[in-house]
């Protein structure tokens, strides 16, 4: 099986998502700007979801457009 780019993309989004989302959840006041939503947590969670999706796609038949 040859190299599948979805694997590193999935892993990277998972890692960055956990890092940023985790900071949003537990990082205290510096993680949220006053009057703004907790963007670290929201975007972090979305990045984790995207990472998981990419990893799941590597299990699907590769090479499809």
């Amino acid at each position: 099986m040859s190299f599948d780019i979805r694997l590193p993309i999935g892993l990277m989004f998972l890692a960055i998502g956990v890092l940023v989302g985790g900071y949003g959840a537990f990082g205290g006041p510096s993680a949220v700007k006053p009057g703004e939503p907790n963007v670290d947590l929201i975007v972090g969670a979305l990045m984790v979801a995207f990472g998981v999706l990419m990893l799941a796609l590597t299990r699907v038949r590769r090479g499809q457009g």
């Binding site: 040859s2 190299f3 780019i5 590193p8 993309i9 892993l11 990277m12 989004f13 890692a15 960055i16 890092l19 940023v20 900071y23 949003g24 990082g27 510096s30 993680a31 949220v32 700007k33 703004e36 939503p37 963007v39 670290d40 929201i42 975007v43 972090g44 990045m47 995207f50 590769r62 090479g63 499809q64 457009g65």
Partner: protein
């Protein structure tokens, strides 16, 4: 603004993955085909995303935000008219010749179709141009990092002078791109471009979301900025009534036809991505898939500019409630700062006594203002990723053209594959080193760089006429093509020398021969220079071709439309055939134009 540990963590993770992909790709970079063409094994969607990512450099991200702030949503013309139709055209009509001819580069196609001199002219100008543009964008990135002051703290803590920030930014970013291309070749570059593409979206889409919340959504933007900023066809009937200073004819012919087709259909930087695809049908679908994504990029790169200007009080905007009409704003508070004169330290004023805004800081400053620690790291990584994808595009196109169209053509004609692979790696190293040199040249002599870029714009303007005639008129000859390119370049220079944008002085902006016509804007002058250059090349190529001996038809099979068997795209459902995809893309872009008319 200082970066927290989380921000550094994000940047670190990104760099780790980028280098890791380079190492993984190097295991499969054993032959010339691997290194220069990614083994012709790239799936359509990967080639398609790389196709846009290589073009989505930092200058594009920052520049489109700047144009959004200056001209408004009309900037989307650079995508919807200035890219999509050309991307559909190359996918449906031109890829069969590029891919089917087995040419390894665009200049090599020119040699197969025409002759050595046409190839040589294209190869040399292209090689120099890619090095210059990667150097200029490296300079822009380093300058931006300096301006944003994000590295001031760490440098002060390490007792290093602040001036080293520029050197560090140039050298570190160049070194990383060098490593992953040197190791993985085009495959390393393309895989990274896909990863970088997703990161760019992850960094800028949340910026648009947060920004729109602040200004009250799209309707809030419309109310704040007025129709000239938020409608792309507003006042396009005449150059005097819209912010771009161009009329609809100059826009559609100059940008939509000549410049757009000249770039998207002939520039090896993007075409190389499609040529690396794993089959003819993938190669044709790559630009079409790219078009489907490209048409939505304006929402990620242009909207930050509009949001930034809405959060900045300016005097020429009656909608800006905080300023009474006619008031002189001494310093523009808000996201976009005024340009400051380096010697006097005072804001620079325009002809009307108003401060000139530094639009290039629209997107970066919005990012610093909106993002908290954590997302700030993601945003800066997105900026870094856009820079690297753009630079890698230049470097891989350079090493291929240098190896096949300069070294193999003029220095050593026959050698084994290993030798050319070795030359390709050396060319990568040399290309990056030359880009660094160009970055320092740009920092020392900004005017010289403007002049060189201008000369290359003349060379580039007519090029699509040559390809159009070459691919679709079998009578076109090598002498005709070469004469056409020279004539088109000369016409471009002549037109520039005889015209001038209003409010500019004769010189590098034009009018250096005589001023016979004044354009309402520099953009209008650019578009018309391109239209004249294209026409000059088109006519000259036809006339000279008719006067010279045609190529034997047998030699043109697979290179010219009428002498190539039509490709049978029977496999797969009709929905994914190039023609169907092309029609869908054009229809979608028409809808976007109607929504934002």
């Amino acid at each position: 603004m200082t970066l927290g540990a989380v921000d550094w963590g994000v940047i670190g993770l990104y760099l780790l993955f980028v280098l890791g992909i380079g190492v993984a790709a190097s295991r499969r970079a054993k032959s010339g085909t691997d290194f220069f063409l990614a083994g012709r094994a790239i799936p359509a969607w990967v080639a398609g995303l790389a196709f846009i990512s290589a073009n989505l450099g930092a200058q594009e991200v920052v520049g489109m935000g700047a144009s959004g702030a200056k001209y408004g949503i009309s900037t989307a013309h650079f995508y919807w008219i200035g890219a999509i139709p050309a991307m559909v055209f190359i996918g449906v009509f031109m890829m069969p010749f590029y891919y089917g001819s087995k040419a390894r580069s665009v200049p090599e196609y020119l040699r197969m179709r025409f002759d050595e001199k046409t190839r040589g002219f294209n190869a040399f100008t292209f090689a120099v141009m890619t090095i210059l543009s990667s150097g200029i964008s490296m300079y822009a990135l380093a300058k931006l990092i300096q301006t944003l002051h994000v590295l001031d703290g760490p440098f002060a803590a390490a007792h290093m002078p602040q001036t080293w920030i520029f050197h560090a930014a140039v050298l570190v970013s160049a070194a990383i791109v060098l490593v992953y291309i040197y190791l993985g070749g085009l495959r390393g570059a393309i895989y990274n471009e896909v990863l970088q593409f997703f990161l760019i979206v992850a960094g800028f889409a949340p910026l648009v979301w947060l920004g729109l919340r602040q200004v009250g959504g799209w309707h809030g933007l419309q109310a704040e900025l007025g129709p000239a900023y938020t409608h792309i066809w507003h006042g396009m009937g005449s150059a005097a009534t819209n912010r771009l200073g161009v009329d609809w004819f100059g826009l559609t012919m100059g940008l939509g036809f000549v410049l757009s087709f000249g770039y998207w259909c002939t520039d090896f930087l993007v075409v190389q991505r499609a040529m690396s695809a794993n089959s003819m049908s993938a190669a044709r679908r790559a630009p079409l898939i790219a078009a489907g994504v490209k048409m939505f990029i304006p929402f990620v790169v242009i909207l930050p500019g509009l949001i930034a200007i809405a959060l900045t009080a300016t005097p020429d905007r009656p909608g800006a409630s905080s300023q009474p009409p006619g008031a002189i704003v001494q310093h523009a508070p808000g996201v976009i700062p005024a340009k400051v004169d380096a010697t006097s330290g005072k804001p620079m004023l325009d002809a009307h006594g108003q401060p000139q805004l530094d639009y290039d800081l629209a997107t970066p400053n919005l990012l610093l203002r909106e993002f908290p620690t954590g997302m700030l790291g993601v945003g800066l990584t997105a900026l870094l990723a856009s820079f690297m994808s753009g630079m890698a595009g230049n470097v891989t196109a350079f090493n291929t053209v240098f190896t096949f169209d300069i070294y193999q053509a003029y220095i050593r004609r026959t050698a084994d594959d290993r030798h050319y692979l070795h030359v390709g790696r050396l060319a990568t190293f040399f290309g990056v080193a030359a880009s660094v040199a160009a970055a320092y040249l740009a920092s020392a002599f900004n005017n010289i760089m403007d002049l060189i870029q201008l000369v290359f714009a003349f060379v580039n303007a007519p090029v699509f006429a040559t390809f159009l005639l070459g691919m679709f008129w079998k009578r076109t000859t090598g002498h005709g093509a070469f004469a056409g390119l020279i004539a088109g370049t000369a016409v471009a220079a002549l037109h520039h020398g005889l015209t001038l944008p209003m409010d500019d002085l004769p010189g590098v902006k034009g009018g250096w021969l005589a001023v016979t016509h004044a354009y309402p804007s520099e953009m209008a002058q650019n578009f018309w220079t391109a239209i004249w250059a294209w026409s000059g090349c088109f006519v000259t190529t036809i006339v000279v071709s008719l006067a010279t001996r045609p190529h034997p038809e047998a030699e043109l099979a697979g290179l010219v439309y009428s002498l190539t068997p039509k490709i049978d795209e029977a496999q797969g459902s009709w929905l994914f055939r190039p023609v169907t995809l092309g029609v869908v893309m054009i229809a979608a872009v028409v809808v976007l134009n109607l929504i934002f008319r």
